[in-house]
């Protein structure tokens, strides 16, 4: 049993000024307000430092676009078919991507990896721990979400070549048609041949997993929400770039679990990005949406996740809310909050010891632990 004492500790909901984090092996025992330490604990003095849970990046392609290899080697977009519900990000994930080492050394310990946004029905994402070892041990949650893509990207992939979808109407049509068919398949019990594509859609229809709807523009967000309502799917809006302009309308849809905002520090090279604003997560959070902040690596680097949250804070997001947006909120959205995202009894001992407040630019992740094992 180890007790880290003297640091300011962000538990996932609040800061404790002079707390103690107690871990045993790979688990958190508890976080104490005062130093009533267990007698058998090895005391580790981290006075003046800051401890947070290991950070969680709710939307990334890390490992799928190997750093330094070139785009020809990317496993990001299966842009051969607009409907690929059964492809899995984990099958394109390369654990030795150099970006992973840098990223976890910056305090990010859990990521959600997802196929890219070329296909209206893009495939399944997975939650991965950035720890050493076999791929199977890194997977925290397989088939954790079904990515759907709205707006420009599917149009730019297929439409420009004269293929369907050319318009937003066709994107919606493709998605609705697929769910209509899958609904029949899912309800049929006997004598059916297993179809992996239909099975993937069934996961969403049975609400085992949420749909992760890539949507920038306000109308795309609302399209995604309407479809989710029609098929009674639980939905998370990815990017949500114009979400801050549509809060009232978004509130009308009960199926929405939350929004994953970002990448915030991004050059708005597409039309649908023109209203990109650092204030987006602040406004969404003020309206009580559950907000996570993403890197969308490699579109902006995953290792700067604290900077993205810091910018959201600088532009008006409550400091605690901004911290939650890279810890407990993404853990909840990814359905892994029983294990990661906060420092609570029985959760995985994933935590970071920082030299300064993690939002300070000069702050260094001095020590990073995943399941009690120090990886930095």
């Amino acid at each position: 049993m180890k007790a880290f004492v003297g640091a300011r500790i962000f538990t996932g909901t609040e800061w404790l000024k002079d707390g103690a984090l107690i871990i045993e092996e790979n688990r958190i025992v508890k976080v104490l307000r005062r130093k009533r330490l267990p007698k058998n604990a090895e005391i580790i003095n981290v006075k003046g430092k800051f401890i947070t849970p290991g950070l969680v990046d709710a939307h990334s392609h890390i490992g799928m676009v190997e750093e330094g290899a070139g785009r020809d080697y990317a496993d990001l977009n299966e842009s051969t078919n607009p409907t690929t519900p059964d492809i899995q990000a984990i099958d394109g994930f390369y654990p030795d991507d150099p970006a992973i080492r840098e990223t976890r050394a910056s305090g990010i310990t859990t990521v959600y990896i997802t196929p890219g946004s070329s296909n209206p029905i893009a495939g399944l994402g997975a939650v991965v721990k950035l720890k050493d070892g076999y791929l199977k041990d890194m997977i925290l949650k397989d088939r954790a979400g079904l990515k759907l893509s709205f707006g420009e990207n599917p149009k730019a992939t297929y439409g420009v070549n004269g293929k369907k979808p050319i318009t937003r109407m066709a994107i919606a049509a493709i998605i609705r048609e697929a769910f209509y068919k899958a609904r029949v398949y899912c309800n049929k019990r006997r004598g059916k041949e297993r179809d992996p594509q239909q099975e993937a859609l069934c996961l969403a229809l049975r609400r085992k997993i949420p749909i992760r709807a890539h949507a920038h523009r306000k109308d795309d967000i609302l399209t995604a929400l309407r479809i989710a309502e029609e098929f009674n799917l639980s939905i998370i809006i990815e990017h949500c770039t114009e979400g801050h302009l549509a809060v009232e309308e978004m509130k009308g849809y009960k199926n929405i679990i939350g929004c994953v905002s970002g990448p915030l520090l991004y050059f708005p090279w597409k039309v649908e990005l023109k209203n990109l604003s650092f204030k987006n997560p602040a406004i969404l959070s003020e309206h009580e949406f559950l907000v996570a902040i993403m890197s969308d690596h490699p579109f902006t680097h995953a290792k700067y996740l604290t900077l993205y949250a810091a910018m959201a804070h600088k532009e008006g997001m409550d400091e605690i809310e901004a911290l939650k947006a890279i810890t407990i909120n993404p853990a909840i959205l990814l359905g892994v909050d029983k294990k990661v995202g906060s420092l609570e009894p029985d959760k995985d001992a994933d935590f970071v010891i920082w030299s300064h407040h993690p939002f300070e630019l000069k702050s260094e992740a001095m020590e990073v632990y995943i399941e009690g094992k120090r990886i930095k």
Binding site: G68, A99, L265, P268, K274, P298, F299, T300, H301, K362
Partner: protein, 374 residues
């Protein structure tokens, strides 16, 4: 006009000075304490720094929010296009120009993109104005060359497969320019805009700005400079830290970056903020730029902060975003708050190297043009 009660970041003396600034006809006339004038701006303790310069942008030619099909960035119809002049494409209403000004960037250099071996000319603009005439400072300020693998990626179908050919094409064009220059004025074909522009380079009137990533390319380009005798600025230059002594020996300035780059290819895999400290230690002159990659131009200040975090001195970091860029392009009346310089001044509520700092106002040529970060 007098700005009173300012905390002035003086790059030359590397210190913060308390005082007042008198501005006449868009220039800094005097810096002293207790100055008076008929128009007063009370800075009330704000930190005043010289306006920043991003020396490698696509402002106005790769406009925010219009979509890449509207970009006037890469003239991919050919691999050699020195006659491309950004002033004919810069859209003054690109929101990024105004936003950059509001974040304290008062000057930018706009250049064509990365697709062509000779991409075109560089244009110096200020970040305030309704028309290109308002924005315009100088064109051409350089000719941009790309000796990365990006031109190959763009042209591999028909025009270019290897770097060997890229170098050969460039050399041939420079040889052609030499021949052109040998001809008497009467015999020269005056319609050849490309020859005229490249002559300016070979005569030493404007520098050749070469975008390279790898150290071997840096070496090859320096050899080319020796052979043809042009003045050279390197851009990109992500492996500069591997050969700092060579850069120092030949006195080559670098426009580093984008160092926050996420999407690293084989040529840029050694990108690191540590490069800045190595260059500082070796006395190599460098400026920082986002090269308008994944991050918007307005975030220039963050490059300085991360460079400082990776070991670059604080004043070295500030100079890299608000002084050296001017020096590299010979803009000698810009680059520090001191007497005689053009009054491009940014006021911050805190030390600009503090990530929480915000721009309160931006002054260009003695006029406050933006109030607060957009």
């Amino acid at each position: 006009m007098v700005i009173q009660n300012a905390r002035i970041l003086d790059f030359s003396n590397k210190k913060v000075v308390e005082g007042d600034i008198e501005i006449t006809e868009g220039r800094i006339k005097r810096i002293a304490k207790g100055l008076k004038g008929n128009k007063i701006i009370d800075a009330n303790g704000l930190f005043l720094m010289y306006g920043m310069i991003d020396p490698h942008t696509f402002l106005g030619i790769a406009e925010d929010g219009v979509g890449y099909r509207e970009f006037d960035l890469n003239e991919t119809s050919d691999i050699i296009t020195p006659q491309m002049l950004p002033s004919y494409a810069i859209h003054p209403e690109d929101p990024a120009i105004k936003e950059s000004a509001s974040w304290g960037i008062t000057t930018a250099i706009v250049m064509p993109g990365f697709s062509n071996i000779i991409a075109g000319a560089g244009t110096i603009i200020k970040t305030h104005g309704k028309s290109i005439n308002d924005l315009f400072i100088k064109e051409p300020c350089c000719i941009k060359v790309n000796l990365t693998r990006t031109p190959i990626a763009y042209h591999q179908k028909d025009k270019l497969r290897t770097k060997m050919y890229a170098y050969a094409v460039l050399r041939k064009k420079l040889e052609e320019t030499r021949e052109y220059m040998k001809k008497s004025e009467k015999k020269r074909d005056n319609s050849k805009e490309d020859m005229k522009l490249l002559s300016m380079v070979l005569k030493g009137e404007i520098p050749l700005l070469v975008h390279v990533h790898r150290r071997d390319d840096i070496e090859r380009v320096i050899a080319l400079k020796e052979e043809f005798g042009f003045s050279l600025i390197l851009s990109g230059c992500e492996e500069a830290h591997l050969i700092p002594s060579l850069l120092k020996e030949h006195n080559i300035p670098c426009i580093l970056g984008p160092l926050m780059r996420a999407d690293k290819d084989p040529e840029t895999r050694n990108t690191t903020f540590r490069t800045c400290k190595v260059l500082e230690d070796h006395g190599v002159k460098f400026a920082l730029s986002h090269a308008q990659s994944e991050n918007p131009v307005k975030l220039l200040r963050f490059l300085a902060m991360y460079a400082h975090k990776a070991g670059l001195s604080k004043w070295g970091a500030l100079k890299a975003i608000a002084q050296t860029g001017y020096e590299i392009f010979g803009l000698n009346d810009m680059g520090n708050i001191e007497e005689g310089k053009i009054a491009n001044i940014v006021a911050f509520d805190k030390d600009p190297m503090d990530w929480k700092s915000k721009v309160v106002w931006t002054m260009i040529e003695g006029e406050i043009v933006q109030r607060g970060e957009i």
